[in-house]
């Protein structure tokens, strides 16, 4: 059989349905891509797989039972990645896992495992960085709002950290890049992930403005002029992250 290209509807359930389908009769795959339903082209050679919620859930159940904690962690992180080839990389990993079972955990040097590991490291590293890069501002009504623009969809990886830390405060972390947000409810002590768009800039309280000024003042005092090293700083705080960081905005 010649390698084929597959499409799914862009949802997690759609992707899992596709994996369940492909792994039932392992085939060579050239490309897997997400295609929003109304953009599907009837005349391409792509095979499109319709989402089947039940099949997806059953597949996920089976997978979580089979995989080691470590492999599951890799998989979860890669599913949250925003990378042009992540679907295919994960497929290869699952294919190998089907052949090798638990042995896959030690196969760190296998190219298919190494690729998935590398991607998962990128996601994990960004998630870790955003534990520090979230900046809440207090808006009218006492809510704390933070905007972020990460490369990967890391919200699910950082939610619990913030829920533990800011348990007594009402907050939202909004991923403006992927259009989703975590809402934390301090009464119920629960958080959930929702799609979200911002229609207006939130209005800061006077106290908020004061703390922002204090923070900028503190930040600019800290640097030691004799040690200036902007390149190092840029490696640590890439320019694209700065629009959401209080200390880099006026």
């Amino acid at each position: 059989m010649t390698p084929a290209s597959y499409t799914y509807d862009g949802t997690l359930a759609g992707l899992l349905t596709l994996y369940a389908y492909l792994l039932a009769e392992p085939a060579e795959v050239e490309r897997i891509s997400a295609v929003v339903a109304d953009q599907q082209n009837l005349f391409t050679a792509e095979v499109s797989i319709a989402t089947d919620q039940a099949a997806a859930e059953e597949f996920w159940q089976r997978l979580t039972k089979r995989l080691s904690d470590n492999a599951l962690k890799l998989l979860r992180r890669c599913l949250l990645a925003d990378h042009p080839q992540q679907e295919l990389l994960i497929y290869h990993f699952l294919l190998l896992e089907g052949e090798q079972g638990k042995k896959i955990d030690g196969m760190l040097a296998h190219p298919w495992v190494a690729q998935v590991w590398k991607l998962s490291q990128q996601v994990a590293r960004e998630a870790h960085r955003y534990l520090g890069f979230v900046r809440f501002q207090q808006v009218q009504g006492g809510l704390y709002y933070a905007a972020i623009r990460p490369d990967h969809r890391i919200l699910l990886l950082i939610g619990q950290h913030f829920a533990d830390r800011f348990a007594d405060q009402q907050w939202i972390i909004h991923d403006q890049h992927h259009g989703e947000a975590i809402l934390y409810d301090a009464e119920k002590k629960e958080w959930l992930l929702l799609p979200m768009k911002l229609h207006a800039q939130p209005e800061a309280t006077p106290q908020e403005t004061q703390f922002q000024q204090l923070w900028r003042c503190y930040f600019s005092t800290l640097a030691i002029p004799e040690r200036t090293n902007l390149k190092l700083q840029q490696g640590k705080v890439p320019l694209k992250t700065r629009s959401c960081l209080t200390e880099f905005t006026v």
Binding site: A109, H128, A167, L214, L222
Partner: protein
């Protein structure tokens, strides 16, 4: 809260910024009803234009001081405006910053006012306010004032995650010359006491988990490098003792940057940051790679090589031990191969259980082949045709960054808990 607070913040942050201990790791506190938690792996919140990580609100309670240490901006004889925050103001600032996720917690230091005891009490009051009134569970690093009563030292460790007293100068003679008001004893005494209290606390907590923790993130200290004439060998030896005998969690090195005109102080030393960087690398080798100070340096070679990292330097002096066969070498042997870090050594051990590794596999396991290629074989094969000879190897391995501006090591995470952060700091030595 007004412009007044802003001015105070500026002055008091400026006075604290030369203290390099920035890490907020090594303590885990869960949030029990209030606000905050201390994460066991360090979290940096931003980086300043000198590339240093910001994780704590690092601030002095006051910059007034009755002492006159030669190297210090806050010394008595400097003509600068003196200001102070009240314990309540410190607590309010900390909470305001913390709620906005600017910081991991507080690093509170101070000049000495009236007496060491009086000053220590002020610091403790600020921390108590945070812990008791605000129910703050975030990270707190508290400076101990040399000469303070042992009872106060004990209280400090009760409220803080980490306590520290800075040795500043490696030998008592330099301390006497540059910080005549402080005796070596006044500095070492609280350090010893804290070490004992930590040991006792550990034993008590084995008996019962209900015993409250004492300074769970341990203690650290700082050495100023280049203000006095000690060699790297003396410094690294001292650090080794501090880790072994005092069980310090970290020794920080701060390249001396003159802030005062003083005849007792040297002029600005050459390449101070490079030296600081090499000392951190050597320190890393002591703590995580199983090296001893005497393996890295000795009286005949008292200073670290500026052109080579200390591990590569060691390997070139022991060329007879190389190359090592990657499929057979022990973990300890792997750690000593230039280009192999802690993480890649662990991955090699795990991966080779599934079968023999080839040279190509090493790259995928995170080994830096640029350095490692001269020191390893895989299934008996090497990337280098000819045998090793240390002088020609040296010229190939010389740090390419040497000619450029000295690179600064970033002092962000201190704990090796998190595998991602580890490779960031070690740069895979």
């Amino acid at each position: 809260m007004a412009a007044d607070l802003m001015d105070k913040l500026k002055i008091l942050a400026d006075g604290a910024k030369y203290d390099v201990s920035c890490s907020s790791s090594g303590s885990s506190r869960s949030n029990s009803g209030g606000i905050g938690s201390a994460a066991s792996c360090g979290i940096c919140h931003t980086w300043t234009s000198d590339g240093r990580c910001v994780s704590l609100l690092k601030i002095l309670m006051t910059n007034a001081c009755i002492y006159d240490c030669a190297y210090c901006v806050n010394r008595r004889s400097n003509d600068t405006p003196r200001v102070a925050l009240s314990p309540a103001e410190v607590a309010e600032l900390t909470i305001g910053f913390y709620r906005r996720n600017y910081i991991e917690g507080l690093f509170l230091s101070t000049g000495v006012v009236r007496s060491p005891d009086y000053t220590m009490e002020l610091l403790i009051q600020a921390v108590r306010t945070l812990r008791e009134e605000y129910r703050f569970n975030g990270y707190i690093h508290l400076k101990l004032v040399p000469g303070a009563d042992p009872l106060l030292v004990q209280q400090a460790g009760h409220w803080a995650d980490r306590v520290s007293v800075n040795l500043e100068l490696p030998t008592s003679s330099s301390l006497q010359l540059l910080a005549p008001d402080k005796s070596r004893d006044a500095v070492v005494q609280p350090m010893r006491q804290v070490n004992q209290l930590i040991t006792i606390n550990r034993a008590e907590r084995k008996q019962s988990r209900k015993v409250p923790r004492f300074a769970p993130a341990g203690q650290s200290t700082q050495l100023i490098v280049g203000a006095s004439n000690e060699s790297d060998h003396q410094i690294v030896k001292l650090s080794e003792q501090l880790y072994q005998r005092m069980e310090l969690k970290r020794v920080y090195y701060s390249a001396f940057i003159p802030v005062n005109q003083d005849t007792r102080l040297p002029a600005r030393p050459v390449a101070p940051l490079k030296r600081e960087h090499r000392l951190y690398q050597a320190d890393w080798l002591l703590r995580y790679y199983g090296f001893s100070a005497d393996e890295l340096l000795d009286e005949a070679r008292p200073n670290l090589d500026s052109e080579l990292d200390p591990k590569t330097g060691w390997a070139l002096r022991h060329i007879e031990l190389f190359p090592v066969e990657i499929n057979r070498a022990s973990y300890e042997e792997l750690l000593r191969v230039p280009g192999v870090g802690v993480l890649s050594a662990q991955r090699i051990i795990r991966a080779r259980r599934q079968g023999h590794l080839g040279l190509d596999d090493l790259v995928r396991l995170g080994v830096v082949m640029k350095r490692a290629r001269y020191f390893v074989t895989a299934r008996g094969r090497s990337l280098e045709a000819a045998a090793l000879d240390s002088s020609s190897l040296r010229s190939r391995l010389i740090d390419k960054t040497t000619g450029r501006k000295p690179q600064q090591l970033s002092l962000d995470f201190s704990s090796p808990v998190d595998d991602e952060t580890r490779s960031l700091i070690t740069g895979q030595l």
